[in-house]
């Protein structure tokens, strides 16, 4: 059992775990319901795309160049960037959105 836990932990370590602040935001805003997010236990949602390589993606939501700034904008108000997006408003503050966007863009 311990070996399995260790293996799982190692597998999760392939990606940098989110800083504690980001992890708290991800949990409190329910991102894991819809997204696969590295380093977040139980974040295996498949409604939206996996977020494991957000740093390598060229576009956010398939419509805008994926800069940290655009991603933060999208995280705050998805429909401002993509009016038909299924992603709901998150209620993140600007600072919170920037913090999350910076971490997501670091995921190559």
């Amino acid at each position: 059992m311990r070996a399995v836990v260790l293996l799982l932990a190692l597998a999760a370590c392939r990606h940098e775990a989110p800083p504690p602040q980001a992890a708290r935001l991800i949990e409190s805003h329910g991102c894991a319901t819809c997204h696969h997010i590295p380093g977040i236990p139980g974040a295996t949602g498949r409604t939206g795309p996996p977020l494991g390589h957000m740093g390598a993606r060229v576009y956010v939501a398939g419509v805008a160049p994926a800069t940290e700034r655009t991603l933060a904008r999208f995280l705050r108000d998805p429909k401002e960037l993509d009016p038909r997006s299924a992603m709901p408003r998150t209620g993140l503050s600007q600072t919170e959105a920037s913090l999350l966007a910076a971490w997501l863009r670091s995921l190559e």
């Binding site: 319901t33 819809c34 949602g45 498949r46 409604t47 939206g48 795309p49 996996p50 390589h53 390598a56 993606r57 060229v58 576009y59 939501a61 398939g62 419509v63 805008a64 160049p65 800069t67 993509d82 009016p83 038909r84 997006s85 299924a86 992603m87």
Partner: protein
């Protein structure tokens, strides 16, 4: 030292290729453009090619006049001479070019020094469809295009359309409810079409060799389980074929281009993608 290593790598590549050709399975002798090389051979070719390109341009300073730029004149030049094969943000290559093998890569994800981009434009690339443009464009045009390619990752599909003076296509006729209902698609034919329509240029697709980490579109590893297509269209039965035919109808401004697929072709590709992408959604899932 670097030259020696490159020469050694090239020699080893040639040797491995010859050995594989003689001893390998039947797919090694398939010279048609219908299927990609096996993944290991694809990787070997790309690695060798990148090493040689790096050697050609090693130590060159950033060429003058190649700063990132996004002006309408260069965008129109790009659309005329480059996008035919490479496509642009949200625009597909010409239909025939989707079946090129090797595919002309989408350039929004290219991360190369300016010297390499200019070298490739000027000299072309052997055993690909990339021509040497030196005798067909002016020096200033080649340098402007280099700058435009450098700016591409920051240009949205909507911005590209307005820069290059393109209109959005509006395929309403194909999307009336009920029209294009072809019944279940054929995954075997779908596999061939997925290759032939160049889907692998932008997406990771299980079972189709190619770029190990394409960055333009999302990986199509769990299409059947995904809640929404393109982030906008609920993934109900039949939705994928509709999405494939007219993505920009459902998601205006999407980087996913209209590919000119017929209803039968879209149904077949959808059937293939759903077959290879793992188990579907559980109907009881709360999401």
């Amino acid at each position: 030292m670097r030259t020696l290593l490159t020469a050694l790598l090239a020699a080893m590549t040639a040797l491995a290729l010859s050995a594989a050709l003689i001893l390998g399975p039947g797919e090694m002798r398939d010279i048609s453009a219908r299927s990609q090389h096996p993944q290991w051979l694809y990787n070997l070719i790309v690695t060798g090619r990148e090493a040689l390109l790096g050697w050609q341009t090693a130590g060159l300073p950033e060429p003058k006049g190649t700063k990132p730029r996004q002006d309408p004149a260069t965008a129109r030049l790009f659309q005329r001479d480059c996008a035919t094969c490479h496509g642009g943000p949200g625009t597909a290559p010409a239909s025939f070019a989707l079946s090129l093998n090797p595919a002309a890569p989408p350039l929004s994800a290219i991360e190369r020094p300016a010297a390499e981009i200019l070298w490739l434009i000027r000299n072309g690339l052997k055993l690909s469809a990339m021509p040497a443009w030196e005798d067909h464009l002016s020096e200033a045009e080649m340098r402007a295009l280099t700058g435009f390619v450098r700016a591409l990752p920051g240009i949205s599909p909507s911005e590209y359309r307005s820069l290059a003076g393109l209109r959005w296509s509006s395929p309403e006729s194909t999307l009336r409810p009920g029209s294009g209902d072809t019944g279940p698609g054929d995954p075997v034919r779908g596999r061939r079409l997925t290759q032939g329509f160049g889907c692998r240029r932008c997406h990771l697709i299980p079972g189709l060799p190619g770029d190990p980490a394409p960055r333009i579109g999302p990986p199509l590893t769990e299409v059947a389980a995904r809640g929404y297509l393109g982030g906008v269209l609920a993934n109900q039965p039949g939705a994928l074929a509709h999405w494939l035919r007219a993505p920009q109808h459902f998601s205006p401004g999407s980087a996913m281009p209209d590919l000119g697929l017929g209803p039968r072709q879209a149904a077949d590709i959808a059937a293939f993608l759903l077959t290879v992408s793992g188990p579907g959604r559980k109907p009881t899932a709360p999401d």
